[in-house]
């Protein structure tokens, strides 16, 4: 790894650790290896959102050309959000692509992602299924997002109706996450989810 990238990440690492956001447990970074090429980030779900109470783990890969190219970031924790792929965790955020600038840091990236959780923009690029739900049935979207936060990000338990429906599919021999994804995509309509899973 280029010296500049490693040196810069070391400094940024310290910056995040010392930042007031860490004191408030809002963001966190950890080293994955000694060479500073890979890090693990964490952001807390912002208050007054379906993500409240959850902790979301991020995979951060630092390219050799950092900071002149952006870090590669994706969600390791499964999340139901219009701007994040529910399958791969890929994020489509402009500052992680063409709007990146060398003056940005790990801290600003984590804070931007946290802001993205607070403010999903339905008029901007969106994941096909989640976006549709967000636009057409906001209440159902919030139930789903909160349920995913509960199951994958350690958020508070809220809706046992979802659990019941998943259990019924699991009893039919469907893998649990597959069942959850299908139900989430069909607004928790058990019949349509079953139909899709067995077709």
């Amino acid at each position: 790894m280029a010296n500049i990238a490693a040196q810069r990440i070391k400094r940024e690492f310290k910056e995040v650790i010392k930042s007031e956001e860490v004191a408030k447990c809002a963001i966190k970074v950890e080293l994955v290896n000694d060479s500073y090429t890979e890090l693990k980030g964490e952001i807390a779900g912002p208050p007054d959102t379906p993500y409240e109470g959850g902790t979301f783990v991020l995979e951060i890969k630092v390219p050799e050309t950092y900071p002149f190219n952006p870090p590669k970031v994706r969600f390791m924790t499964k999340i139901w959000h219009p701007n994040i792929s529910s399958v791969t965790g890929a994020i489509c955020l402009d500052i992680l692509k063409d709007q990146w600038a060398a003056a940005m840091t790990l801290r600003t990236v984590l804070l931007s992602l946290q802001a993205l959780l607070s403010a999903a923009e339905p008029d901007d690029p969106q994941d096909a299924v989640v976006a549709k739900q967000y636009r057409e049935n906001l209440e159902m979207f919030q139930i789903t997002a909160r349920h995913w936060t509960n199951v994958y990000a350690g958020g508070p338990h809220v809706n046992s109706d979802c659990d019941d429906k998943i259990r019924r599919l699991v009893d039919m021999g469907i893998e649990e996450h597959q069942a959850r994804a299908a139900l989430s995509s069909y607004n928790w309509d058990l019949e349509r989810a079953t139909e899709q899973l067995f077709s």
């Binding site: 900071p67 792929s85 890929a90 060398a102 003056a103």
Partner: protein, 488 residues
């Protein structure tokens, strides 16, 4: 034997010098040329501890004048009698100008100048009176205050640090500011005022002065319509001057880091630093500047600017921050700079509607005047004749699709049979297949593009294109794409 002879020689030599120059002996001499108003050049050896009065005493007899009738001009200033040689920033083989004083010069009314207070003792060369602080900021208004502070306090950084690219040393070096007449290029020129900032130095006709070479000539040239202007140029201060043509390019974005600004990329404080020409003046260290250039070069992310050429903007993404003096890219290694030049040329050819020869190992740029001409011959290059549209060998009629092209090139039509070339071509075909399979062309500029993950929203990375397109639809990126197949 010979050492004894040499010893005797040197003793004789020093005795002679004692005889010639009174009590002065030369310890570590500077070999200096003195140019006279008559156009002749005298070579003299000077001791750095001597003052200008001594120089006049040496020079005047050779001109047939009294020492009081001569004035010595160097780097835009008439040197005062009390200045010592060592204070003058003279390098080996520097050129001083000796001019006969006509009538005691009535100094043209100077603009307020920093060196006014020094005038009575005689002024120093321009490069010695300028200070770093004046050039650390483009804004001239603040600078005079700074300079006054400096003169009253310690004179630690009294000498301005210029950085240049020296074509002789082929490297970044310290530079020396020199002055000559804008019109006749003579160095026998004194400025009326000191430059206050980089604009005064870099933009022609900012500072007026008096040309001592032939004021009449320069005045006539101009019909007295405008004053005689100073022209500033730079020399490398690290090799012996090779004459008046030996110049260096000022790399004015490289500056001493007087206020210890940390690097934008690595956060280290180093000196000197690269200051980007954006309103904020973002700073990187020179290593990070190189790394930035290499990263952007490898991705072909330099910008083909219509006036400035192939250049880069501030890495913090500021608007209007292009590097205007492209010699700054000479900070790259020779290989990298050669690559920079090649990419820049290719980009220029493509922008001008030209084509690049598709033969492996050729890549000659060809500008075609007639926009309808489809048959391109690689003149001055490999001689390949090809179709402008499909970049395959020239053909009559419609272009084949790439698949057909593969078949054809395998089977026949080979009038130029070179077994080695055939083997190369097959290898090339293999990579063409790989490109075909792995990439899709940008719908706007047709640059083959590979998608290595993420969403379907593609942004063309070719500098100047930046088209937003959909990997699935291969057209503009639309709201529909976002809604139905953003992540595939």
């Amino acid at each position: 034997m010979s050492s004894i002879i040499n010893a005797i020689k040197s003793i004789l030599h020093s005795m002679l010098q004692l005889f010639w120059f009174g009590k002065k002996t030369i310890t570590n001499s500077l070999s200096i040329y003195i140019k006279t108003s008559g156009g002749s050049t005298i070579s003299v050896d000077l001791d750095p501890t001597w003052d200008i009065k001594n120089v006049k005493e040496i020079v005047a007899p050779k001109l047939g004048l009294e020492p009081e009738e001569v004035k010595i001009i160097f780097a835009g200033k008439e040197l005062g009698d009390n200045i010592t040689i060592s204070e003058c920033d003279l390098g080996q083989k520097s050129i001083l100008h000796a001019v006969k004083i006509k009538s005691r010069p009535k100094l043209p009314q100077p603009r307020h100048s920093l060196i006014d207070e020094d005038e009575e003792q005689g002024s120093k060369p321009l490069c010695e009176t300028l200070r770093d602080t004046m050039f650390s900021n483009e804004d001239g208004s603040r600078n005079s205050a700074n300079a006054e502070d400096d003169s009253s306090s310690t004179k630690v950084d009294k000498k301005v640090h210029f950085y240049v690219f020296c074509p002789t040393c082929k490297a970044l070096k310290h530079g020396k500011l020199r002055v000559r007449c804008h019109f006749c290029k003579s160095g026998a020129f004194t400025v009326h005022s000191d430059p206050q900032n980089w604009n005064d130095v870099l933009i022609p006709k900012q500072i007026t002065g008096l040309c001592e070479n032939s004021p009449e000539l320069c005045a006539n040239l101009l019909d007295n319509l405008e004053p005689t202007f100073a022209e500033f140029y730079f020399k490398c201060s690290e090799h012996t001057s090779l004459g008046e043509q030996d110049q260096a390019v000022p790399l004015y974005l490289i500056r001493p880091n007087l206020s210890n600004v940390p690097c934008l990329a690595c956060a280290d404080v180093s000196d000197p630093v690269f200051v980007f020409p954006c309103p904020e003046g973002h700073v990187t260290c020179l290593d990070c500047f190189r790394q930035y250039c290499i990263t952007k070069l490898n991705e072909r992310q330099f910008w083909q600017h219509p006036e400035l050429g192939y250049t880069l903007a501030c890495p913090a993404g500021c608007v209007d921050s292009f590097i205007k003096e492209i010699h700054h890219f000479r900070l790259l290694t020779d290989n990298q700079y050669a690559q920079y030049q090649r990419f820049g040329t290719e980009e220029f050819v493509l922008r001008s509607g030209g084509v690049l020869c598709p033969q492996p190992g050729c890549g000659m740029g060809i500008l075609v005047d007639d926009p309808d001409c489809m048959k391109i011959t690689c003149i001055n290059g490999c001689g390949y004749v090809f179709c402008r549209n499909c970049l395959q060998g020239y053909h009559i009629g419609e272009c084949d699709s790439v698949e057909d092209g593969l078949k054809n090139s395998g089977s026949g039509g080979c009038y130029s049979v070179d077994p080695a070339r055939v083997a190369d071509a097959r290898w090339d075909e293999a990579s063409k297949v790989a490109i075909k399979v792995l990439t899709k062309p940008c719908p706007k500029c047709r640059t083959p593009t590979e998608r290595d993950g993420g969403c379907m929203h593609m942004i063309c990375t070719r500098a100047g294109c930046g088209f937003h397109w959909c990997w699935v639809c291969q057209t503009d990126w639309t709201r529909d794409c976002m809604g139905s197949h953003w992540f595939g």
